[in-house]
Symmetry: C2
Subunit: 348 residues, 2 copies
């Protein structure tokens, strides 16, 4: 006892588990990581010891020992949004689990220069991989020369598959198509939509999905039913006013996010238009606001926390594996159509 122990906590360590199971710490590690082939009897003994002792690996030790320095840079904007909260929660949970360090930095401007500056600052602070939510993944994808090469990147919920980096997303095309088809199934023919900003690829992709649904159902498109928006509540209000002023009013409006759909609901209320009897309204994302208005919104659920978590995990994997070109695959997480009370069949 030449040195007093520095640990006050009596947390169970891998060595105690190993002793209990009658194997080496290495074997415990192998079993837990599932890395090597281990005899079934050995494996069972380890699991039993883990169970009996209530062992939970020390994340810090694991992070330190495994792989190289894992530092992920995350760039964001619009700190108020529910989207960002979800992105942060997913990335933070995955980072903690995988022993990565997350460097978070905001970038308010959406131009190339500001993006490049922020990203390079992140790299200078030690980030060796980058997590890019929109619009940043799309900005970088358009001008890949912005970045010093060699830094793995992962797109998060981009509006379409990108050419220069892998990503994790929902299939916006299929999601918009499915939602539109659902409205058509309810008897709607005049289905308006309110886009997001053109810089976000999601807008164009969802529009294509919408068009494909109309075409499949042999409904002729009406350009006057397509309104501009920028994903904000206010822009939704403006767009809703224009659409509801149309001589031949739409029977359904598809907002490209929930905020926009909420604005439509609000504008409809103001005009005394009854939802869903006279107008069906649907959104996209399934953010908390969807159930905080009346009637609650039918919407496309996009599991952002899960997407962000998986993107973070894939980035860590890319960093740990010897870079042999790296992944370029885009992984698709399933979306779902959540039906609530803002939609109904067309009334004659």
């Amino acid at each position: 006892m030449s040195q007093r122990s520095r640990r006050s906590s009596s947390a169970v360590t891998i060595n105690e588990v190993a002793a209990r199971a009658g194997v080496s710490a290495m074997t415990v590690s192998n079993v837990l990581l599932g890395r090597k082939k281990v005899l079934e009897s050995t494996r069972d003994a380890v699991y039993q010891a883990v169970e009996e002792l209530g062992y939970t690996p020390n994340a810090a030790a694991r992070a330190l020992a495994s792989a190289s320095q894992l530092r992920l840079g995350l760039i964001y904007r619009n700190p108020q949004s529910a989207f960002l909260s979800a992105v942060l929660v997913g990335a933070l949970i995955a980072s903690a689990r995988l022993g990565a360090q997350l460097l978070i930095r905001s970038c308010d401007a959406e131009n190339e220069e500001a993006t490049a500056a922020t990203l390079n600052g992140l790299v200078r602070s030690g980030a060796n991989a980058l997590l890019l939510p929109p619009p940043f993944c799309e900005i970088v994808d358009r001008s890949p020369e912005l970045l010093a090469a060699g830094v793995p990147m992962m797109a998060l919920s981009s509006g379409r598959e990108l050419t220069h980096m892998p990503g994790v997303r929902v299939d916006d095309y299929e999601a918009a198509r499915a939602m539109t088809l659902r409205l058509i199934a309810l008897g709607h023919r005049r289905i308006a939509l309110i886009e997001g900003p053109i810089q976000h690829y999601a807008s164009a992709t969802r529009l294509a999905g919408y068009r494909s649904a109309l075409a499949a159902s042999e409904i002729e498109e009406d350009e006057s039913l397509i309104a501009k928006g920028d994903f904000t509540y206010d822009s939704g209000l403006v767009a809703a006013q224009r659409l509801l002023d149309l001589p031949q009013r739409p029977t359904a409006i598809f907002g490209f996010n929930d905020d926009i759909a909420a604005a439509v609901v609000s504008e409809a209320h103001r005009r005394g238009i009854v939802i869903p009897d006279e107008l069906s309204v649907v959104g996209f994302d399934d953010t908390p606001i969807a159930v905080k208005i009346w009637p609650p919104l039918t919407t496309v659920r996009q599991p952002i926390v899960e997407i962000s978590d998986l993107a973070t995990q894939r980035l860590v994997e890319a960093l740990r594996q010897p870079k042999e070109g790296g992944t370029t695959t885009t992984v698709h997480i399933p979306f779902s159509i959540i039906e609530r009370e803002s939609t109904g069949p067309v009334k004659p």
Copy 2:
């Protein structure tokens, strides 16, 4: 080179900084942590080396070396809420910064048994300190015998100062009082309110703040203006209906959270009551919904991310310091009144 280096990354380490500054790694550590007295010249040399090399400490190594196992247990419910997202973001950011491991577990029931079971499970998994958002901090405070002693706890945003544990919160009493006084200053005399559930101390505390403001302004209380709610949008709708049906309608309604206030706005719209000309509506929290309805809500801003971050930090400090009774202080973070367009002077 008997062992090949396992690091591919060229991240700057404390030793490189030490070499550059011409000191030992220990001294670099001391400077960075500000733990011991260090000559100013030494300190400057260290800072310069840190700067030149772009050094960022490796959080995992720091966590492993410093103090004992830092494992914080966080119990939650209502995973959809904006409140929980903010709590998570604050706790996760602080944990990452401080090298603590966060164990997160949900508990849907609000009774003592379920709470105790979940908390004890967390401790069995290695949590050596507990972070308790409402209603859990309040449940435990009422029955402190629920928990095996010796586990430091920290209340997060509790509705009042607790007797058995320290915490970080906003002063709900002063906040509700300030908001009510603001309405009074606008000329309102019939100010209704919609409470939260009684299990949440915040309800009673805010009610007391409201009463104190009325008393200070010599306005007589009217019990019919106090409506029950449970912090959900739906309960707000029901309460708003009752209040707006009153023979002598209130000129202002104070919802004890933003969801409730949003419901009031919605119900007012439905009845064609113009906000703020005929009715002022205010909320509490400043969650994203406050600016996603029309008109946007005047509300009390409660910085949840900051509260959660500080609570996590205090808990880690309590764990690191030799427990000499431990803190029992409740720290108050400032709130602010955010004025938006849902309030206005009383029109005759």
